[in-house]
């Protein structure tokens, strides 16, 4: 229940990591990588988001209850995307490009 004072150094390190991951994001977009470009880009974005959530948003120093709230949000998002895709991914013949 204390207010965690995150050291400035930590913030700077996280920031530099975010910039590095941004460079990586650009690299993944411009370099041909046998089809895993998209999943790699999403993975890198997820790592960036995780860094922001854990350190900038103080979740690393937060209560379990807070983490449950956040996790629930992403689980609901997964349900939204997942169930929507169960429709589109199981339609044969819908994948039509003119």
């Amino acid at each position: 229940m204390e207010h965690p004072v995150v050291p400035v150094k930590t913030y700077i390190l996280v920031y530099l990591a975010l910039l590095l991951l941004l460079v990586l994001t650009l690299a993944v977009a411009y370099i041909e990588m046998a089809g895993i470009n998209t999943i790699l880009a999403v993975a890198i974005a997820s790592i960036k988001a995780l860094l922001v959530i854990l350190y900038f948003m103080h979740v690393r120093y937060s209560t379990m209850l807070t983490r449950v709230f956040i996790l629930s949000g992403f689980i609901w998002l997964a349900i939204l995307v997942g169930l929507t895709l169960t429709d589109y991914l199981t339609r044969a013949g819908l994948f039509i490009n003119p």
């Binding site: 994001t25 977009a29 370099i31 949000g73 819908l94």
Partner: protein
């Protein structure tokens, strides 16, 4: 259950309790925001899955340089607002005001560049609402892409405008020394909101600008 405080409450403890409660409330709101943007992202996922080539083609019309600059601006603004929270935690009033103003300036710069991008897109006839020009065979599908682009980034921009508004109010309050190292809930809550808006952009940027540039 008729008495809320049968024993005297330590004000310091009470303040900490209320802080945690406020943070929890903000996270509850942010979860609803995850679902709001999540719906748009779900639409994006479906249509990108259905029309991959059209989406690649359409995304090439977006300016990667401006998008990258904007991403750097937003990431830096997250740093400055985190430092604002850090300042108030240490009782550094000057630092608080400084970093709040820095975040405001960065946020406004982001919006300026976004506005410029929108202007370019409209000039190129890529705004789906008016005269939309796009070479065949991807015309209608590119229209879908740009609908998603303008809706996602537009909703994001609205969130940024509201965030900047809140930051301006906080800045003025900070000048009046309304925040102390013991009571700075609004700063923390606004920072959480701002970081969230940054995270949304962290996903929008690669999904819209960087689909396939090999």
């Amino acid at each position: 259950m008729s008495e809320t405080h049968p024993t005297p409450v330590n004000p310091e403890k009470q303040a900490r309790f209320e802080f945690e409660l406020n943070v929890l409330g903000m996270w509850l709101f942010l979860v609803t925001e995850i679902m709001l943007f999540g719906g748009l992202f779900a639409a994006y996922i479906v249509y990108r899955y259905l029309y991959p080539e059209a989406f690649i083609d359409a995304s090439h019309h977006l300016d990667v340089v401006l998008g990258t600059v904007n991403t750097v601006i937003l990431l830096t603004s997250s740093l400055t607002i985190a430092l604002a929270v850090n300042s108030v935690q240490r009782g550094n009033q000057k630092g608080l005001a400084l970093f709040l103003m820095a975040t405001i300036i960065l946020g406004t710069a982001f919006l300026g560049i976004k506005g410029l991008e929108y202007l370019h897109k409209i000039e190129e006839g890529l705004f789906p609402g008016g005269i939309f020009v796009y070479p065949a065979p991807f015309t209608q599908q590119a229209r879908l892409f740009f609908s998603l682009y303008f809706t996602l980034t537009g909703l994001h921009a609205v969130h940024m405008i509201l965030g900047i508004g809140a930051l301006v109010v906080l800045f003025v309050m900070s000048l009046r020394k309304k925040f102390t190292s013991h009571r700075y809930d609004l700063i923390e809550l606004t920072a959480l909101y701002w970081h969230f808006v940054d995270i949304v952009w962290i996903f929008i940027f690669p999904l819209m600008y960087l689909i396939d540039r090999t």
